[in-house]
Amino acid sequence: MEKDLNEFIHRARNGDHQAFAVLMQRHEKLIYRILENMVGNPVDTQDVFQETFLRVFRRLDSFRFQSQFSTWVVRTAINTAIDFRRQKKWRRFFRLDDNENPYDPADVALTSAELPDHQAEQNEFWRLVNREVAKLPAQQNAAFVLRHYEGYKIREIADILQVSDGTVKNALFRAAQKLKKQLTPGFASSHRIR
């Protein structure tokens, strides 16, 4: 699989957009999910998603085939999301962007699958989780999403974020500390409901 991927990478490097479309197709779901949990609302997610793949394409030449291609794409996505979050912070600072809430729970309903009514309360809880996760500092946010939502190993996350294993573990620990503080009431009550 990785091998025939290489074929597409080579072709895309030579400007073959159809080959690049195949590469996109292979990674788009993963990238969208990751970005959704880093960026927050779907409109921004879709912008960052596009920017990610434009960067991937422009930088294909710098991919050295030493790591997995998907690792490289995920890294690009995360860096793009981090850049975006930084810009957004500045924009908000200068009031160019008066959207105070980086993550609107109402947005979730637009993109995620509908849940049956009896799950509404559960749904509410997960919306809260999503919102709080998107509010985490960038590195903690990325580590958290990769570990808990996408099931990456610590070493793989360290590779993607280009930090040490210890830093990843620490980020995960800090993220969990913050989250449980934010979620405590909802966390306790909806835990009991089950």
Partner: protein, 317 residues
Amino acid sequence: MKECPKIHLLQEALYGETSDADLARLHAHLEVCQACRDEWESQRQLVQRLVERPERTPNPQVLRLLRQSVLGRLQHRAPRASGQIFSFLNPSPALQLGFVVLLVAFGFILGRQGTSLPASSSGLNDLDALITASRAVQAQNSFIDPYLAGVERISYNPESGQIDIHYNTISDIALRGSLQDASIRLLLQKTLIETQNSAVRMDAIKAVHQIAEQEQSLDSDLLGTLGRLLFEESNPGVRLLILRVLKTLPLSEAVREMLTRIVLQEKNTALRIEAFDILTRDAQNNPETNQLLQAAQADSSSYISFRSKQLLQANTI
């Protein structure tokens, strides 16, 4: 509050690979340290709970649109040597470059010259290529590279029911088809996504409005594009026009959601009022809208807050 110096034991055990010896040390510490015991318990609970999180699956249609849009933007930015555009006229270097000159018909008729293009034997694949990739369309003695040329104007003739998509090529070239034509719809959608020109976006939305009026429905792709534009667009006129399109549609779940978001979050009062009116046209005896009405009572527009109260009262009687 100072943190316990042994906190790294927890980090390792929760997120790393711990040896039995490390675990033994951790448990020994947990026996004597309340703070770490609490932290350990709560983090483990959180991690366990996360496993139950319902998966959020990205909408495949959204992904497809995004892919098309990225490919379109690549096309725009692809570096081109000067004069290369004209190499379309010479098929062999064009082929080498990966560009395929093709004849597209799909019921399109060439605009000004009035000559029809020969029907192509290939089906939707070609159209997909026209929409997503870099293929030029041959039209008499001219070519349209959809990405280099771009749409200049879209016009709809209500008498003939035909729509013309004019490209800003040197000679006036238009693709003509009917609104029922799937390929025309795709081109409208593509124009909505790509064009920088808000007047052209308005033209395209007007054409979509025609479709919505004729069919009382829109396929989810087009609706999704309108939805995205409704929130991304900076030109309020374009946004108002999108609301007018939504107005002609039945209040499906998706339409309702877009409108609700406008009513609750939009700063522009005119847009809020428009969305509010559409949403509440069947508000009487419809308990579903009560929640919205509750929230809208606090709206800064006196019209919206007054109407909300009025409708709520009517509903409770």
